[in-house]
Symmetry: C2
Subunit: 274 residues, 2 copies
């Protein structure tokens, strides 16, 4: 299934499943409404409630109630382009706050007075069950699905601040979506092409098979020190090809089977902060 979250005029946000006409069904591109929170178990289709896909606005498919864990330098060719080695001990992990999330089509805001804002196209793992100390060979049991994330990063702050809270955690620095695919196995999710385009130009052309630490190792390691909750996200790292984005650009990240996450980039309307 493709789980999305969406808004319609005058109603609260809801979850639904996306059905495409190209899937061979009788319906045009549509979204079937789910009753309940799919991350809290047991959401079912609301009888008969369905919208044309173009009548709704897709939102970020999940806002975690706990955490987003990012993985740094998890593609050797990206680590190299940044002048780094891949980590030899523990994976390089950081947190992004849930307030950094925006959905499909929402703008990435360039903070006032900064340059060197970079896109990073990534596969995001969505956790489905509360879990701790998950053995690598049982990771599939705790994964809800996969979606696309843009781990937007401000390079100057990343260099100057030491810790990456501001560089990677600022508002709008985590575009997410357009939907969560729940049917992929870990093996399937580990051989997906990731392509990022800026204004239509191909900038990243990688594959999840290039990850230094794979999906099972990442989830197992992260759950060794922190309890994962349903809806938590793990951003698995970006392939080579990152680069600057600025006012007026459009970033599109496409992953096989996960659709395309597209976001415009806008300059902040505020003056530079001190």
């Amino acid at each position: 299934m493709r789980i999305a979250r969406f808004a319609t005029a005058g109603k609260d946000a809801a979850h639904g499943t996306i059905e495409l006409a190209s899937d061979g069904g009788d319906n045009p591109d549509s979204i079937a409404v789910l009753d309940g929170d799919p991350f809290a178990g047991g959401a079912v289709h609301a009888a008969g409630e369905r919208h044309r896909l173009h009548d709704v606005r897709l939102l970020a498919p999940v806002i975690p109630r706990s955490k987003i864990v990012g993985v740094g330098r998890n593609f050797a060719d990206h680590a190299a382009e940044m002048g780094h080695e891949v980590p030899v001990g523990a994976p390089l992990l950081f947190f992004k706050p849930n307030t950094s999330i925006v959905g499909l089509g929402e703008p990435i805001i360039v903070p006032a007075g900064v340059e060197h804002l970079h896109f990073e196209g990534e596969l995001a793992i969505v956790i489905g069950r509360r879990c701790k100390d998950v053995p690598a060979d049982q990771v599939s049991e705790v994964i809800f699905g996969y979606t696309i994330a843009n781990d937007v990063t401000q390079r100057d702050w990343q260099s100057s601040d030491g810790q990456w809270a501001r560089a990677k955690g600022s508002d709008t620095f985590c575009p997410l979506g357009p939907f969560i695919a729940t049917d992929l196995t870990i093996v399937e999710a580990s051989r997906l092409s990731i392509r990022t385009r800026v204004n239509g130009d191909l900038r990243q052309d990688g594959n999840t098979s290039q990850m230094v630490r794979g999906i099972s190792e990442l989830v197992s390691f992260i759950s060794s020190f922190t309890t994962l909750l349903p809806g938590d996200l793990i951003l698995t790292g970006t392939p080579k090809g990152v680069g600057n984005i600025g006012d007026g650009d459009v970033v599109e990240i496409e992953i096989d089977g996960l659709g395309t996450l597209s976001n415009p980039v806008l300059a902040s309307t505020r003056g530079p902060s001190s």
Copy 2:
């Protein structure tokens, strides 16, 4: 007011206000139940519902739905004891996940196979209003109150991992409580003594007046890049005197007017992770 969250046998967790006999009222040490979520506006006392304080179990007074922001090296004497300078540009900021929080009396778990787990007694700011870009002279309007936090840190991971997600974000690494004091002004909160004892021995004896970046500057700066939500926490840094804790120790952090946050330390019952 002193806002606490508590559990009683067979009931959901609730918030309440603590009233001490020493305050001069008619009641023995007691907790008056609040209806609703004080972080979502408009909690009121439930008519007549009151418990003896010793009949309830206090929980961490808030579990943020968004984030905990930590501030590193915000006391010059602590930075010096760790061999660091205080940051000269932006404050040194990091995130801890809400899954790291434990309440009064709950154990800090020493991860299997590690030493050099340190306590860090700190004043925690509790945010009361959704806010962004808060000017320093308006910070008092967005503060809900203050409580005590222990920014537990594993020093080896802090050195080896680069980013501090595991070193500061592991389960049980954020003891919090015992309650939130809502009546302090920023000026008052900026001259509180912080004392940490391990097994009764005084180990930290600092004062919030020694913070390099004060409360107003921290909230203003942090809100310049990330939207703060009600219940979000800012841990303002620790004075000198940090040190090892291990199985069987008891850490008590006392801040003027905020009570004492006491937690035992327990070794993990799991074998060492790889």
